[in-house]
């Protein structure tokens, strides 16, 4: 799942249009637009709003195997051209003084720059940094749910020391819209990274099926998960493994005995498949 977080609807619109996301009518806390493997949430301006929206949408997708994140929005700059798009490699929260470092894993056409997050609009503009009002809170919140490599900010310069911030929503959308091609490429690479992580996780319904076969202690659950993740990575299907487990359960009486038998059976298959690396 790739989640886009934008402060304003006009900042979200190019993403919604590009990905053909549909507005969700099931939720009312925030405006949410969805497709099968992506969604875009409109948080409102500022750190509190973006933190709330990020946490809320993460909770909504708690069954996702892995979540990738992009905070898309506009920013101010002293020297960069209006309409130029940037990925962020350092976020400094001006009020707390704390810095965050998105991990620059993605080779992108978008150049990278630092960003300062303020509580109020910044009219002074820092020499070597963009200015926004959400990035620090977004990043700090999203790292509660995903690892930093999967959390990125993309900012398009909307105002600088010469040109003040536009109040025209269409103009703001247009600034992001004109960068949608490299932004989409960036998101595709992020999606691929996210899938690497997702592939290593068991789907929650599958995991629950295995757990229901016997009573497992906490240690046994870890062992079971390790076995299943390895065997699935080697090409065993969940149904094949479930059939193996069911056959084992059928021959034993007590639940405690079942859990040990299941683990022994899967562990043996794991050893057989790994002996030659």
């Amino acid at each position: 799942m790739l989640i886009w977080v934008a402060a304003l609807h006009c900042e979200a619109k190019p993403v919604i249009d590009f990905l053909r996301l549909k507005k969700s009518h099931d939720h009312h806390a925030f405006d949410l637009y969805q497709a099968d493997n992506a969604c875009c949430i409109v948080s409102g301006i500022g750190k509190l709003n973006v933190a709330a929206a990020t946490a809320w949408i993460a909770a909504l997708h708690q069954q996702s195997r892995s979540i990738g994140w992009i905070n898309i929005g506009t920013a101010g700059s002293r020297s960069y051209a209006i309409g130029s798009a940037w990925t962020i490699n350092k976020i400094t929260d001006i009020e707390s003084g704390h810095s965050y470092y998105p991990v620059p894993l993605i080779n992108s056409r978008l150049p990278s720059e630092q960003c300062q997050t303020h509580n109020k609009p910044d009219s002074e503009y820092h020499l070597q940094s963009l200015s926004d009002m959400e990035a620090s809170a977004f990043f700090a919140t999203a790292t509660r749910f995903s690892s930093a490599e999967l959390i990125h900010c993309i900012k398009v310069v909307s105002d600088n020391s010469v040109t003040p911030c536009s109040r025209n929503k269409n103009e703001v959308s247009q600034l992001i819209q004109q960068n949608m091609q490299p932004i989409a490429e960036f998101s595709q690479t992020l999606t691929a990274l996210n899938q690497q992580i997702a592939q290593m996780a068991l789907a929650e319904p599958d995991w629950q099926r295995f757990l229901a076969t016997a009573h497992f202690s906490q240690t046994q659950k870890t062992q079971l998960k390790n076995c299943l993740r390895f065997l699935c990575s080697q090409g065993d299907s969940i149904d094949t493994l479930m059939a193996m487990v069911s056959a084992t359960v059928g021959t034993n009486a007590s639940s405690n005995c079942n859990s040990q038998s299941i683990l022994s059976c899967l562990a043996q298959r794991r050893i057989d498949l790994s002996r030659n690396l």
């Binding site: 490699n89 350092k90 810095s99 470092y101 991990v103 620059p104 894993l105 080779n107 150049p111 990278s112 630092q114 790292t143 509660r144 995903s146 690892s147 930093a148 490599e149 999967l150 990274l193 690497q196 992580i197 290593m200 390790n226 993740r229 390895f230 990575s233 080697q234 794991r270 050893i271 498949l273 790994s274 002996r275 030659n276 690396l277």
Partner: protein
Amino acid sequence: MVSCVYVESSIKDHERTLRILARFKTTPVVEIEHHGEVFNPSAQNFRLQKSNPALILAHKNNRHALPTPEGYGLGGKHNYYFSHMLNCLYDCRYCFLQGMYNSAHQVIFVNYEDFDEDITQICAQHNSEPVWFFSGYDCDSLAYEPVTQFANFFVPSFNKIDNAWLELRTKSTQVRQLLKHQPCDRIVTAFSFTEQHSHDKLEHGVPSIEKRIDAMRLLVDAGWPIGLRFDPIIYHDNYRASFSHLLDTIFSTIDPNQLHSVSLGAFRLPKNNFKQVNKLYPDEPLFAQNLALNSGIIGYPLEQEQEMMRYCEQQLLQHIPAHCYHPCEWHE
């Protein structure tokens, strides 16, 4: 390929920093206060980062050289390790560094002079007794030599301390800088090898066995002492034949009488490191093998390990003189 260079503010104008940055002119540079800001946060995925790590240039404030863990060494009485780098260029699946740090970024501590000062002091404390320093504990000593110039700095520095011994441990072929210096009997370049099948499966990015043997030979020909480290030995159905073949390959080029030291150890990881790397690489067959916990270490069941070690030791001693053999012992 380096995705980004982070530079601590305190060393941004350091001569070594500037020289390293000159090699990465098109790479984004981000200034940081302390390398821990980037290196230590827990919400990081080592596996993802390893595909495209960043470089962190930092200053090491204290504890430049530390006593080695129990059992680490080559029979010397005084053993220390020091790390001018954290993390390795290569991606060996059995390596404990994967479970050691949250980040796969490579940290280079640029204040070599402070390391040198501590090493000099430690050697002075031990009067004229030999003191061993191991530099390949948290990184490969030579793999990043073109960037770090580590050997280029420390070879002259060790050369001038009469009781200081240095082990450079490597899987690289980066011997060019060493060859520019006069050989020193107290600086041993130890090459790590696993047999071909394990190399193919587990040592991602490591130069071929043949190329490393060529590098060893260049050092031997120039009069440098070298060592061999067969650690870890990894089980598979054909490990015996494959290990014997590795020995034959090495000793068809290298004269065993010119070896300073040889060590041997079976695959093992501290329990907590194992848990961490198994979580990172749930699809890795090495971690799915028949392994057991023994004295806080995950490794092969004792009987199997002893059998493996016995076989490899026996094969090894057919090639090398016994006095230079140092088994890696960690069992009580």
